[in-house]
C-alpha cells in the first residue's frame, strides 16, 4: 500500500507542478535556477542512480558501518555477533543486470518512439477536448482534486477541511471551493496535548504566591515530610503511646 500511495503522491506533485498548462499567467517569465543550484541536485541524482545500478559498490561501506554497530551491541563481553552482512541478502548481481536492462530498454524505446513520431511544432494541435467550447487552463486537475478520491477513502484519518461555498441568493454569483488536508498528527494531536499540559502547569503557579510566611511554612513542611517519610508509620503509631 505504501508504495502505491507514494507513487500517487509523487505523480500528483510532479504532474500538478511541472506538467500541463500554466494555471495562471506568470508575472515574469520563469527562469531556470543558476548552475550552482543544479549541480548538487544532479550529483545526488547520479549517486542514487549509481547505487541503484551497482549496489555491490555500496555494500562494503554499509557492512563496515553495521559491523561496528553490531559489535557494540554485545560490548558487554562475548564475541561480537556480526549482523548478517548485506552481501548475500540482496541478489546484487541480478539487480544490476535488471536495472541496466531497464535503463537501456527505456532509453531505446523513447528514442525509437520519438523518431517515429517526429512532429514539428507548427503542426501541433490543442489537446483533444471532446468538443468542449472553451477549455481553460484552470480546468486541469489540481493536486487536491487529484487526491480527492484517496482522501475520501481515508477520510476517517485525514479529516480534510472543506471550504464549500454556501449559496445564499437565488442567483449565486462567483463561488469557490477549496479543500485541504492539514498535517493531521501535528495539528490534531500533538499541539493540543502540549497546550493542555502548559495550561495544567500554569495552574501550579498558585504554589508561589509571593508571601514569605508561606515560604517559611514550606521549609517546615519539608522537615516534617522528610522526617515522616523515613520513620515507618507502624513505629510512628507505636511511638504515639508514650512509654
Amino acid at each position: 500500500m505504501i508504495g502505491a500511495l507514494a507513487a500517487a503522491c509523487f505523480v500528483k506533485a510532479f504532474g500538478a507542478v511541472f506538467l500541463g498548462v500554466a494555471r495562471r499567467p506568470h508575472e515574469r517569465e520563469p527562469v531556470e535556477a543558476p548552475r550552482t543550484m543544479l549541480v548538487p541536485m544532479a550529483a545526488l541524482a547520479l549517486l542514487c542512480a549509481a547505487i541503484g545500478l551497482l549496489p555491490a559498490l555500496a555494500v562494503p561501506f554499509l557492512d563496515r558501518a553495521a559491523a561496528t554497530w553490531s559489535a557494540a551491541a554485545t560490548a558487554g563481553g562475548g564475541a561480537p555477533v556480526p549482523l548478517r552482512t548485506l552481501a548475500p541478502v540482496g541478489p546484487l548481481g541480478w539487480i544490476t543486470v535488471l536495472s541496466a536492462a531497464l535503463w537501456v530498454g527505456a532509453a531505446a524505446a523513447v528514442l525509437l518512439l520519438r523518431r517515429r513520431m517526429r512532429v514539428e511544432d507548427d503542426q501541433r494541435v490543442p489537446t483533444w477536448d471532446c468538443g468542449y467550447a472553451a477549455p481553460t487552463a484552470r480546468m486541469q486537475y489540481s493536486s487536491s482534486s487529484f487526491a480527492e478520491m484517496l482522501v475520501a477513502i481515508f477520510r476517517w484519518a485525514l479529516r480534510p477541511r472543506e471550504h464549500a461555498p454556501r449559496l445564499r441568493e437565488l442567483f449565486p454569483k462567483s463561488a469557490h471551493h477549496r479543500s485541504h488536508v492539514d498535517d493531521v498528527v501535528l495539528d490534531r494531536w500533538f499541539l493540543p496535548v502540549l497546550r493542555w499540559i502548559a495550561r495544567k502547569l500554569l495552574w501550579l503557579r498558585f504554589l508561589q504566591p509571593g508571601r514569605i510566611q508561606l515560604y517559611i511554612l514550606y521549609v517546615l513542611i519539608a522537615v516534617l515530610a522528610l522526617a515522616l517519610s523515613t520513620v515507618p508509620v507502624g513505629e510512628l503509631l507505636k511511638g504515639l503511646v508514650p512509654r
Binding site: P209, R211, Q213
Partner: protein, 212 residues
C-alpha cells in the same frame, strides 16, 4: 542545681506562650529579652562553672537581652507605624498551635535516646518547643519586625540545644554563632528601615509583588 535549671526551662516554655499570645510589639520584644536572660543563665547551671561557660553566658545575656532588644526598640521608635502585632492566623489559633508543638516536642524528645547523665531532662523538649514556636511566630505574623522576633525565638531554641554539647563547640565558634546572630538581626533591622522607607509600612503584605 538541676531543679533551678528545670524551673528556668519551664519559665522558657511559659515565655514561648507569652510570645505567641502577646498583641503588642513592645511586649513581644520584652518577652524575647526575658527569654534571652533565662537562656543566658542556663549554661552556668547546666555545666560545671568554668571560665568558658561564664563567658558564653555573659555574652549571651548581654547580646540577647540588651543589645538586640534595644536595637529593635530603636528601630520601632522611628517607625511611626501602629504598634499592634498583625496576626495572619488569630492569636488563639497560634496559642493552640504552640501547645500542640510543645506536646509534640515533648513526645519526640521522650523517644530520642537522651543520655541519662545530663542533669536536665527537660532541655531537649524545651529547645524543640522553642524552635517550633519560633516557626509559628514566623509563619503566623504579618509585620516584618515580628518575623525578626520569630527568628530570634528560633535561635534561642537552637542555643538551648547547643548547651548540651558545650565542649563540642570550640569557644571561638560559640562566639561566632552569637556574633552571626547579632549581625543577622542588625542587617534585618537595616532592611526593615528600607522597607519602611520604600513601602511606608512594614507589613509583608506589601512584600508580595514578586510571584509566579
Amino acid at each position: 542545681m538541676s531543679a533551678t535549671a528545670d524551673a528556668l526551662l519551664v519559665f522558657v516554655l511559659m515565655l514561648n506562650f507569652v510570645v505567641l499570645g502577646s498583641g503588642r510589639i513592645r511586649s513581644l520584644i520584652y518577652t524575647v529579652a526575658a527569654q534571652g536572660v533565662a537562656l543566658g543563665v542556663l549554661p552556668v547551671l547546666v555545666h560545671p562553672a568554668g571560665l568558658r561557660e561564664a563567658l558564653v553566658s555573659i555574652g549571651a545575656i548581654v547580646l540577647k537581652s540588651a543589645v538586640i532588644p534595644r536595637m529593635l526598640m530603636r528601630a520601632m521608635a522611628d517607625l511611626p507605624v501602629r504598634r499592634e502585632v498583625q496576626p495572619l492566623v488569630g492569636f488563639r489559633t497560634s496559642l493552640v498551635l504552640g501547645a500542640v508543638a510543645t506536646a509534640a516536642s515533648l513526645l519526640l524528645a521522650s523517644r530520642l535516646p537522651v543520655l541519662g547523665n545530663t542533669a536536665v531532662r527537660l532541655l531537649v523538649p524545651a529547645s524543640f518547643a522553642t524552635v517550633l514556636c519560633g516557626f509559628i511566630v514566623l509563619i503566623a505574623r504579618v509585620k516584618a519586625i515580628t518575623q525578626v522576633l520569630g527568628y530570634l525565638v528560633l535561635e534561642n531554641g537552637i542555643f538551648l540545644f547547643g548547651l548540651l554539647l558545650l565542649d563540642a563547640m570550640p569557644f571561638l565558634v560559640e562566639i561566632g554563632v552569637l556574633l552571626d546572630l547579632f549581625v543577622a538581626i542588625f542587617v534585618m533591622g537595616i532592611i526593615i528601615n528600607h522597607i519602611h522607607r520604600e513601602f511606608s509600612s512594614i507589613s509583608t503584605e506589601r512584600l508580595s509583588t514578586l510571584r509566579e
